[in-house]
Subunit: 474 residues, 2 copies
């Protein structure tokens, strides 16, 4: 994604501002230099911040970094907005084990080294509790790569902690009212049944809490290191035969099958969350410090509009009406611009994500964080219920892809490429590469009028069928 006045291009080789030592107001959490994803094909892996020693950051090549992770094929391109890619990715095996009392078991490991030991069964079958699941994540940074890097190194650990905390509920046939399984009221199971609470609701809750926890970690770490920035987050998790897609920001995941295109996420931007954002400014007008107007108009108003009746929308309206323009309506709008150009407080193009705790409107003290949510929306794909075909895939990508390719165009590329390349062990990787290259204005690109993406672009292609797994060349 892109953020208004963050669009500074760092020249190749130009160093990022050095992290400042923690100041007197810094958090007591010690600063850990963020580790970068190692991107070469010979060393796939996502760092587990809580377990593995720090490694030297490896600068990602400017273009065409290839991350052939296990059970998912990533292609990432850096638009050179900064020396380090503002897009970051993480991916790995996800093992959750039930912890017996007193036993010191690992709860969750992201252990790409174990790829070669994978059994032949497809990941969604193996993704049973006590066996392995998978985790894929894309983070699109703004204001520098710091938040995206922290998120790539941290979020899976937060998710592990949150899943650990409810694992007794996950392994039960039905989540018990009390985590220890003790029944205080004889009809407790009936209450849980009536509320329709299933194990998948605990995973959704864990993802929601993990995003919030990660946001707090990023806030502390950035403050401690004197860095700034934020990022979007799109996460897919396979567990117990289901694929959970959690999204906070403007990345997107879709399911592509022979006869179906199904969105698995929805974008959160100042436009899609207009009413929530206006509502907050209505409840807390002091957040705008008298500098912005809460109301939406088709364009920014000027002196000539004073006294006229113009189109407007307020927080309670999904339709439009007319109002007589007063002087206060001439202020800069809380949400302004259209489509890709829409900005929250003239600054940010997304309304959910991680980080941005210090972000203020340029030359003011107006904070953006109160308007941002770190909570994702989670959708659940019951993979076990699908009659999977060999070429069924999930495509996850940052907005750099979706700005120039529609869901239909991506599906067309998937369906054009995969059936003719079923023997190629690298076909999913090549598909991810092709999707990226289709955003670069090549002649054979399916984009309208050869549209080109000038943004960072990251793509995961996740095969759903076991055949995809077997032919992946591992």
């Amino acid at each position: 994604m892109s953020a208004g006045w963050f669009r500074r291009r760092f020249l190749p080789g130009e160093p990022l501002p050095a992290p400042r030592p923690p100041g007197p107001r810094a958090s007591p959490v010690p600063y850990r230099r963020p580790r970068f994803l190692r991107g070469s094909s010979s060393s796939p892996g996502a760092a587990d911040a809580s377990r593995r020693p720090d490694s030297r950051p490896v600068r990602s090549p400017a273009r065409g970094r290839t991350l052939p992770w296990n059970a998912g094929y990533a292609e990432i391109i850096n638009a050179e907005k900064s020396e380090f890619n503002e897009d970051q990715a993480a991916c790995g095996k996800l093992c959750i084990r039930r912890c017996e009392f007193g036993a010191e078991e690992e709860w969750l490991t992201l252990c790409p080294e174990e790829v070669s030991s994978y059994p032949a069964a497809p990941w969604w079958v193996r993704g049973q509790l006590g066996k392995s699941g998978h985790y894929w994540a894309l983070f699109d940074g703004h204001g520098g790569p710091a938040a995206a890097i922290l998120a790539a190194n941290t979020l899976h650990s937060c998710l592990r902690r949150q899943l650990e905390a409810v694992v007794e509920g996950l392994v039960a046939t039905q989540p018990p009212m009390h985590l220890n399984g003790r029944c205080i009221c004889p009809s407790d199971p009936q209450f849980v049944e009536e509320k329709g609470i299933r194990a998948e609701d605990l995973v959704i809750g864990a993802l929601e809490s993990a995003f919030q926890e990660c946001d707090e970690v990023i806030g502390r770490e950035l403050e401690a290191s004197g860095q700034v920035g934020g990022c979007t987050a799109l996460v897919a998790v396979s567990l117990q035969g289901k694929l959970y897609v959690a999204n906070a920001g403007d990345s997107r995941a879709i399911l592509v099958r022979r006869d179906e295109i199904r969105p698995l996420s929805f974008e959160f931007t100042p436009e899609t969350e207009r009413q929530r954002i206006q509502q907050l400014a209505f409840v807390y007008p002091e957040l705008l410090a008298g500098e912005f107007t809460r109301l939406e108009f088709p364009r920014r108003l000027k002196g000539d509009d004073l006294g006229q009746k113009v189109l407007f929308r307020d927080h309670h309206m999904s339709g439009w009406s007319y109002k007589r323009v007063e002087k206060s309506d001439l202020k800069y709008p809380l949400i302004h611009g259209q489509g890709r150009q829409a900005r929250l407080l003239g600054t940010l193009a997304v309304s959910r994500g991680l980080g941005d705790h210090q972000l203020r409107v340029l030359d003011t003290n107006i904070q953006l964080k109160p308007f941002l949510l770190s909570v994702p929306q989670v959708t659940v794909l019951d993979v076990g219920q699908l009659e999977l075909q060999e070429d069924d895939v999930v495509v996850m990508a940052t907005d750099g892809l979706w700005d120039v390719l529609s869901n239909e165009q991506v599906a067309w590329l998937v369906r054009s490429f995969l059936p003719g390349n079923q023997e190629d062990p690298h076909r999913f990787l090549k598909l991810a590469q092709m999707l990226i290259h289709s955003t670069q204005g090549k002649e054979d690109s399916p984009t309208e009028e050869g549209q080109v993406s000038y943004d960072d672009v990251s793509v995961f292609v996740i095969p759903l069928h076991s055949q995809g797994q077997e032919s992946s060349g591992h």
Copy 2:
């Protein structure tokens, strides 16, 4: 709909509490005794509060009141919870005329007397601007019928005012940035185009504003007369070839065609709006006065649960998690109960509607109004784009119907009845009657296990096809 402690049954003939004269805190708006809908088949019509002199209230018969309105067929049954039906309906022709400068034209009339002068064209063709549209409304009262009666007498006038205010925008090809059509910026039309603002957005805005205005009128009138109560509101408006359905509460409208069942509204209850309501209590904890807990649990907690980890949800969660029970969690939950039994603050079964300005939790000073929205959600059915069949209808009904009949069961009844009765000029009325009777536990009822509705029930059947209009016997 029903409201927890409002479920007092008034005995037939027992008078309602007499309205008190306005006290010192009464609104300056003079109290007008509400007029009741005249329900006999010989005098169909909806009163226009702003134009017609008050008429003596006519008590609705306890059961089986028949309202064969023009272009819509209503059947209303009173569950005798009060002497007057808590369900109220309004329906009529809707004429909007463009007011030329200086001309004293009527802008909108609800004029059922003109039914016989209807041309043969279907209502949705005639519903062009400058010609007539239609208005149907169902109001389901709680705490007495006062709010529902006021809404039935008032809302269409509010809608008229709101549509009047934007009529210049409605008649333009595209709503102009400035209501007077003057172009201050040469690219103003382009700004409006880019925002995708169409005439239908002005109708949606007018409906949203009309509901709010009506809510304010009800608040003033009830306060002035010392009465209390609230109501849900479900409104359908035909205009310019489209059907707008605005809903605030738990009534429902569906489109039934030969091969399609399409919901045209969505219910607003403490369950469906849980996150919005919890969010408000999070922002303004003082609204709960220390008496309620914002959190949701599968059941109300008690002393034995203290210190245990139990399932819970907070405002930011769509999933569930576990928390350790503290003393404050033992308070009564902000939203409690399940399905039909779910209550906001232990009191109210809906989260949107009109009125309830004085409603407080029993024996406390805790107000419900801050948690209620009067804003409807509006859906638009582009009738002109449908290839209409003769038996395509819209069914609007209060929750008394939907509590015992599913959308599919209603559609089954529609499809079973209409094709065999195409010659019957009263078939839509009979269908409405049959739908009502199906909620009364008759042997041939399609409801599961002979379910019976003990609530008031009101049904509109609106034929969409011109044939339905022609065969209606007018």
